[in-house]
Point group: C2
Chain length 191, copies 2
Amino acid sequence: MPLTDLEHTVLGNVWKKGECSGYEILQEFTHSTAAYYRSREGAIYPLLARLVRRRLLRARADKQGNRPRRLYSISPSGLAALKAWLAGPIPEADATVPPDLVRTRIYFLGAIEPAKRRSMLRDAAKRIRGQLAANRRKLKHFESTGNVFAALAVEGISVVMQARLSWLRRVECSPEFAAIPRTAFSPRQKA
Amino acid sequence: MPLTDLEHTVLGNVWKKGECSGYEILQEFTHSTAAYYRSREGAIYPLLARLVRRRLLRARADKQGNRPRRLYSISPSGLAALKAWLAGPIPEADATVPPDLVRTRIYFLGAIEPAKRRSMLRDAAKRIRGQLAANRRKLKHFESTGNVFAALAVEGISVVMQARLSWLRRVECSPEFAAIPRTAFSPRQKA
DNA sequence: CCGCTCATGTAACTGGTTACATGATTTA
DNA sequence: TAAATCATGTAACCAGTTACATGAGCGG
């Protein structure tokens, strides 16, 4: 059975960190700025056990430190699986637009009155700007530590967030955001 | 219990279409360009039944047409739920970066050799360009039918896809895509 | 000694996926 | 008449969520 996206991502994280505890991996996910990756213990610990069972990760007990913990490292077959995922063809689904619940809301925004549409847009833009600020800090950190690929990925986050913002500004200027509300059964109604 | 994102989206679709069959809603999802929304019968039909049970949708049998089918329409409380979702504050998670498996791959791209990195980027860019072309057709369609909010949403897709593409081009120009491969345990190694 | 972080789990649940089943009607 | 599409489901499964449990060490 093929690995899930989350499994590939954990595999990649263990490769990138080198030998590390489950808790460290967990932190990486819970502290992620991207909500998508904020996984919990209930996801990560069983997943690590799964990858060990499949011999993609190796685990050993660490008694050196103060607290007892299990240290994971990637196995040769794990590295092979990671490389296959990275070098293999991009699944068509991974190239489609990522889900965006703000965009989805706008698709249905005709259902509420113009004043509320505008406040919704302002709210969305404000939150996205906040995300962008946090992102810039992250980028600086990765650049200063020479983590080149992480920096490139974070740049990718920034350009997408900026694109979303500039699009929201364009939406705000659209005539529909001052016009009379359009109702469900007269979708062709024009100003 | 609050509605899921998919439930809100279906609710919105029924509002937008007016009275319609489960199959029509299903088509909307299976034919979506965004992989995220490509739900199957097993998701949509039980979901519709759930919304009917919660009185957010109404169902009636249609015997007029050739094939027997159930027609769904949004109820007053359903419309209220939709409006509350649209006008309510954007959850912080919905404002974070959408997941992007291409970006995730790039985060770990140091694991494969430069030649493979480049071919991966070319592959990703090619597929995203294909998506963009399909998108332009959709935009034209919505513009010509006066579906203003759908057109705005599709514009949102376009700007994000273009941002991803321009970012991929920048990544391709980065020195790491010609340099010697970086390994897991010497992440600070520089050209 | 109280609360926080480190550290590892488990048990119940559930939304959505996969895959199958069924039958009628239209189109080639 | 065969294939495609319309149309509606169900049953098994499973990854990930929610929520809880536990205990050790550390800082104030």
